[in-house]
């Protein structure tokens, strides 16, 4: 479905995110065979899709695994690795730490979703302390938090200048605590 066909007050997800997610799942063999073909079939990188379609895509993975958290982290990392090395990532992010600013700014999360703020939520950098190697991102998006942890890890590691990144949300699932060195 493209933008024109979607109801105006509905949240929309950009095709690049859908394709990135689906391609990462296929590359990691999380979905395989006929499922993999159906998974990616018909997705257009420049179209906008209703949130429900994203949720269906995500649900296909979530329902297949007893412990899906490590899977979603890995998918997030794979998405951003692909984005950086085979997509536009290199052009917009030079250093690992700056990915945090990019992803929480207008070019990141905000550029791949559209719709009412109450549904879209936000992805904000609450704390950034480079000297201590610590940052906190507050997320209220409808996306899987572990995938978002993976997105931050993958995006920060991709430029290759950071030796260590960990992102945890154990204490409060919406607060993604980033440690980097």
């Amino acid at each position: 479905m493209n933008e024109q066909n979607a109801p105006p007050d509905q949240m929309l997800v950009h095709g690049s995110l859908m394709v990135g997610f689906a391609q990462a799942c296929v590359n990691l063999n999380i979905v395989a065979g006929r499922d993999a073909t159906n998974f990616i079939k018909g997705l257009q990188i420049n179209d906008w899709y209703p949130l429900a379609q994203w949720e269906r895509l995500q649900e296909l993975v979530v329902r297949s695994y007893g412990n899906v958290d490590p899977i979603m982290v890995k998918v997030g990392i794979a998405m951003m690795t692909g984005w950086y090395h085979y997509g536009p990532g290199k052009e917009v992010v030079r250093r690992g730490a700056s990915f945090l600013h990019y992803q929480t700014g207008s070019g990141g999360f905000a550029s791949v979703v559209r719709g009412p703020e109450s549904v879209v939520g936000s992805f904000e950098l609450e704390l950034f302390d480079k000297s201590r190697g610590k940052a906190i991102v507050h997320s209220t998006t409808p996306f899987n938090r572990k995938m978002e942890c993976g997105v931050l890890i993958g995006g920060m590691l991709a430029p290759g200048d950071i030796d260590y990144v960990d992102v945890r949300n154990d204490e409060d699932s919406d607060h993604l605590v980033v440690e980097f060195h």
Binding site: Y65, G66, P70, V73, I77, I153, I162, D163, Y164, H181
Partner: protein
């Protein structure tokens, strides 16, 4: 003044003694690089554990499905064995008049547990007898059910009509709608026997009469299959006296192929019968089957071969 040693120098030169010359900053980088690798390993291990767990569940599910499938197969297998014994019970036994005048040899084999080749012996209204050989289209259970249906039709009419063309026509008329509905048809080779003649209706299948006097007659296929058309059947009459040999068969043997894709053929089967025509009919059948087995790679259809010699 020499450049300070960096972590990259140590790694690229592969000289561990250079580690002692690293600055504190470089040692810290080494520490975090190591921690980074350990963290990556931790994430990868968690990922693989999760996928392994998923595989384990998938294997368990597969195992359960396999057990269900095996149970279902067992039920089907049992049903087929019952069907096979039912179909065997439907095959005929010679009755007194027949046994006193004919020496019979039969080879009958269904491709699967049950099938669509069918032969039968009938008592006619005038207490004579008849033989029918039929091949119902397709194989397996559906053909076997049609076979049982056709047998019932013949049993219904045999004691009321005498003439083979009338009998076959009646069965065709009675079965026509049913066969059309189930999309089946059947070849028919139906022969009634008098004192010194036989009358046959041939709509598919094969028939050969080898006279004791050396004359041969190949059955003419002048008629249509059961269930294909509704029009009268034509019958032929031939002499059938003591010593004459009648051979009836379906296409199962003659259309089977060897490794080169060549058919066993009517000519080859008829030739084997000719060469051994003086032997007991069961022996002729055995030799035909032996020759067939030496030729074909595998069976591809139900098989019926019936050889009858007039003895009195």
């Amino acid at each position: 003044m020499s450049q300070p040693i960096t972590l990259e120098d140590v790694l690229s030169k592969n000289e561990t003694e250079l580690l002692a010359q690293l600055s504190e900053k470089e040692l810290a980088r080494l520490y975090w690089k190591f921690r980074g690798l350990a963290k990556t390993l931790e994430r990868d291990t968690a990922f693989w554990n999760s996928t392994n767990e998923n595989l384990k569940v998938a294997y368990e599910t597969l195992d359960e499905k396999e057990r269900e499938l095996a149970a279902a197969y067992h039920i089907i297998r049992d049903d087929l064995e019952v069907a096979q014994s039912v179909q065997s019970a439907l095959l005929p036994r010679m009755f007194a008049t027949m046994a006193s005048e004919l020496e019979l040899g039969v080879y009958h084999k269904q491709l699967t547990e049950v099938g669509g080749d069918y032969f039968d012996y009938f008592r006619t209204a005038s207490d004579r007898y008849a033989i029918g050989v039929f091949d119902i289209s397709g194989h397996g259970v559906s053909s076997a059910l049609v076979m049982a249906y056709l047998k019932a039709q013949f049993m219904t009419i045999m004691e009321r009509l005498e003439n083979p063309a009338e009998i076959v026509e009646w069965v065709n008329r009675a079965s026509y709608e049913f066969l059309r509905e189930v999309r089946k048809y059947a070849t028919v080779n139906f022969v009634t026997f008098e004192e010194s003649t036989l009358h046959y209706v041939c709509g598919g299948g094969y028939g050969l009469l080898l006279g004791a006097d050396g004359q041969e007659h190949i059955f003419e296929k002048k008629n249509h299959f059961l269930g294909l058309r509704q029009k009268p059947y034509l019958e032929e009459q031939l002499p059938f006296v003591v010593g004459d040999l009648l051979v009836l068969y379906t296409d199962g043997m003659v259309e089977a192929q060897n490794l080169e894709g060549k058919d066993y053929s009517v000519a080859r089967l008829n030739d084997v019968v000719r060469r051994h025509r003086t032997l007991p009919t069961e022996e002729i059948v055995r030799l035909c089957v032996e020759d067939y087995h030496s030729f074909r790679t595998q069976d591809s259809d139900d098989i019926t071969l019936l050889i009858a010699r007039k003895t009195a």
